[in-house]
Amino acid sequence: MNVVVCVKQIPDPADPGQMDPETRTLKRDVKLILDESDSYGVEMGLQLVDAAGEGEVVLVSMVPNNEVSGLRTALAMGAGSAVLVSDEALAGSDALSTAKVLAAAIRRCEADLIITATESSDGYTGTVPVQIAELLDLPSATFAKSIEIDGDVAKVQRQTEDGYDEIECSLPCVVSVTAGVVEPRYPSFKGIMAAKNKPVDELDLAALGIDPATVGWAGARQEIVDIAEAPAGEAGEIIHDEGDAHERILAFLDDLKIL
């Protein structure tokens, strides 16, 4: 069972650095870490490989400057190897360019299953997973809270507002995994030491056979026209308890139609 997990390496949200006023994107020249959203996919992939008793988790990541620090975390958790794509021509890649590159990298992996997060913590468009599936001509399931492999079928519980759908997808397929549905393991000390020696296949666009004119700024179909500060949250209402606080809270929630 070979599971490809797409992992995005992003600037640390605790220390996110700055926006580039020129390109209106996040500056990515700081140390990058494994997107926490993807740690759930890595954990799920590892559990599926464990359950299958054979195979491995292969990571696929596109990133500037061949950055590996986020990959190392996932390798230390137990992934077996990684494919890393970097190319100067990828600067300015929109979600579709990213999906093209990831799809081309995944094609080299002989994957039984491809896992992504439902959306990244920084870009947050949530469009890459289905684009990958389309480009690879594979079925896809989104918002998975659990995946079980039964022969050549993936049984997926798909989170909905009211509960979950049970769906089946023939393998190989692309499944996006919701954050928080499994508990990502800690990289163990032995895993950390071993991670250094795990193979990381570093590729550029030429190696993937992708025309630079179709990706990056050159190929972008998406344009960021403006960026603005998020509006500050408004101060909440403080209810002082004079014996009737519970009633006033109920009335407040009722007004919001939450109850």
Binding site: S69, T73, R185, Y186, P187, F189, I192, A195, K196
Partner: protein, 386 residues
């Protein structure tokens, strides 16, 4: 000379920090309040640290341990030092001295301890023999294939949770040019051995929830196969393997001091008196500068000693200097941090009063500051014939 941690070391520290934050810090108040760690919590922490692969980090990887070198171990201990002893010691580090196990001892003690199935403690101190360990009166006499042990050990840390003791006892005396000298042997003694009684020790101001016990031996009989190392050569085994414990104390103190310092720093930047942030008063800001200076000093001393140990060149004096520097730094930083906060520093809403209390034992256990200075000074003067 390289002062930056490697990528691996950073990840190791991140793992420990995450574990400390998620699995230990949430229980701090409970442990302080109860003065105890419940059995269930002990089991939970042990299981989760085993699952996380951070248990027995000091032991070689081929024996099932974490396989970390001493510098990385010091970083790990620094990260654990962020929280309190009663919690982080459960993510155990079997005593290095167990590496001296041979024959059946390997399967009976060393390996199960690395796997978290058994827990060790170590007993040298006695009511009448503290710094002067060789003055011990607890003795073992040979009787056929057995030793028969009589005497008392006290201040024995976590003997309540351990199921065996690495015991040091007098097994004879030899004549030297400076008079008679006791011969010491180390024995592995299971806590269910008849004739051994493990009873609660004293209430200690430092490290609530981490108990010290008294071990009473009354004709306690153990087979000669339980000797760790060789008969009469207990201190040789101890000297070979126990140097790292002083570095452990030093490294833990760094984490404690770091936590206290950060509380003080934030407070100084926030709290206003006389119409301005108190950090603007030189009387406060210079304290911060001194705290940080001493913290970095102690850090360098500790990592240096650990590095020398990895190189196989650490002397007793190097470990002693690291312990003096770090334990005394912590006392200073904890005290000054409280001063920066004023009254609030003494309240148990914040971790400072605990860190201040806990810091006190570090200048005493694993050799008092005076004994560490004795070690350093003897190392300096002995070659001069003085």
């Amino acid at each position: 000379m390289e002062f930056a941690p490697t990528d691996e070391q950073e990840m190791v520290v991140d793992t420990v920090r995450a574990f400390v934050e998620r699995e230990l810090v949430p229980y701090e108040d409970e442990v302080e309040r109860l003065g105890d760690v419940s059995r269930e919590l002990v089991e939970q922490i042990r299981e989760r640290s085993l699952a996380a692969g951070i248990y027995a980090a000091n032991m070689p990887a081929d024996l099932g341990g974490g396989g970390l070198d001493n510098v990385t171990m010091a970083m790990v201990d620094r990260a654990f030092g962020w929280t309190q002893y009663a919690l982080h010691y459960i993510v155990a580090r079997p005593s290095n001295i167990l590496r001296a196990c041979t024959g059946d001892q390997v399967d009976e003690y060393l390996l199960p301890t690395i796997r978290g199935e058994r827990v060790d403690c170590l007993a040298m101190s006695e009511p009448g023999a503290g710094s002067d360990v060789r003055g011990m009166t607890c003795r073992a006499t040979r009787d056929g294939d057995d030793y028969v042990i009589n005497g008392t050990k006290h201040f024995i840390s976590h003997a309540d949770l351990a199921d065996y003791t690495i015991l040091f006892v007098a097994t004879g005396e030899e004549q030297t040019s400076r008079g008679p000298k006791k011969l010491i042997t180390s024995l592995l003694v299971d806590h269910d051995t008849p004739g051994l009684e493990v009873v609660p020790g004293y209430n200690c101001v430092s490290n609530r929830g981490y108990h010290n016990m008294i071990l009473n031996f009354d004709d306690c009989r153990v087979p000669a196969s339980k000797v760790l190392g060789e008969e009469h050569r207990g201190f040789e085994v101890a000297n070979e393997w126990l140097g790292a414990t002083r570095l452990q104390v030093a490294a833990i103190c760094l984490g404690r001091a770091d936590r206290a310092f950060r509380v003080a720093l934030e407070w100084a930047a926030d709290r206003e008196q006389f119409g301005q942030k108190i950090g603007r008063f030189q009387g406060v800001s210079f304290k911060l500068a001194d705290m940080q200076t001493k913290l970095v000093e102690a850090e360098l001393m500790t990592y240096r000693a650990a590095w020398l140990m990895d190189e196989g060149r650490m002397t007793d004096g190097d470990a002693a200097m690291a312990k003096i520097s770090s334990t005394e730094m912590l006392q200073f930083v904890a005290d000054e941090a409280i001063q920066v906060l004023g009254g609030m520093g003494l309240m148990d809403e914040l971790p400072l009063e605990r860190i201040w209390r806990d810091a006190r034992v570090d200048r005493i256990w694993d050799g008092t500051s005076e004994i560490q200075r004795h070690i350093v000074s003897r190392q300096l003067l002995r070659p001069l014939g003085s």
